[in-house]
Symmetry: C2
Subunit: 162 residues, 2 copies
């Protein structure tokens, strides 16, 4: 049972890392230049602080998920892992929410603030950001599942001796 | 020790609820009408989806933190509480991040997207949103401390019999 539990954890962590890497890479490669009524418009992720935060958060999520596979379950370090899991979970949730908020303004604008949607002009860029957002959300979701799984193991210390 | 532990938990939960209520109320009451070059401009939280999300998230955080005080530590429900704590933590982190992202555009604009800052026109509104953001962040921080405290109690089941 202990081996199976460790295998499940490792698979979950690898899936988190994979989706996080995809999210960061898709976001970093989002770039489009277009001209609109003669005005050249360039869109790239580094122009938006929230998108930079997204890339940093998912790079951290990627590295963390890989490193944490090495921690032996049941060790003192594994308790710290649970704490840091919660921190990383909040970080990823924050990154997805901040990027989602800005992506919504990019797509729908905000007429009350006078912010026009930019997606009609830079369609490929928006599709890229949306892709990154979906990958990020998947990574967050699997990370959440892995927290649930670890919590279950910690909360029921007898689970693995069945 | 068990009584002290329960007291600490209750105090932390009450602090989370208080800050969450402050965050939601400050955000809901943020409203300003101003005229700019003859154009009337009205700013209120319900014009921005992220701010509505903020109010809902902190209303949930407020109600949850109060309800959860009633759960007896050590009971089966207290294990579920740990899981729902993580969910609520991610929800609050997402709300703070989404609101922070939009507040940043409101304050500094985004010249590449052609979004102008609105804070110079609606200063009082921006101060209100900033206040809500700070209260929300405080609530998130105390909620995080309370998760750390619960995790510590779960991870070391012998702690309370000393």
């Amino acid at each position: 049972m202990a081996k199976l539990s460790r295998l499940i954890t490792a698979v979950l962590r690898l899936a988190v890392a994979g989706a996080a890497a995809a999210a960061a890479i898709i976001m970093v490669t989002s770039h489009e230049t277009t001209s609109f009524f003669g005005i050249e418009m360039e869109a790239k992720y580094s122009y938006t602080p929230s998108f930079i935060f997204f890339v940093v958060a998912f790079a951290v999520g990627f590295a963390y998920s890989l490193l944490v596979i090495l921690v032996r379950p049941g060790s003192t370090a594994s308790r710290l892992v649970l704490l840091s899991d919660v921190v990383v979970g909040m970080l990823l949730a924050g990154a997805v929410a901040a990027t989602g908020a800005i992506a919504d303004v990019g797509k729908n604008g905000n007429e009350h603030a006078g912010w026009l949607p930019i997606c009609p002009q830079v369609r490929a860029y928006c599709v890229h950001v949306e892709g990154a957002l979906i990958a990020g959300f998947v990574s967050l979701l699997i990370h959440f599942l892995s927290i649930m799984y670890s919590l279950h193991a910690v909360a029921e210390p007898l689970c693995c001796s069945h």
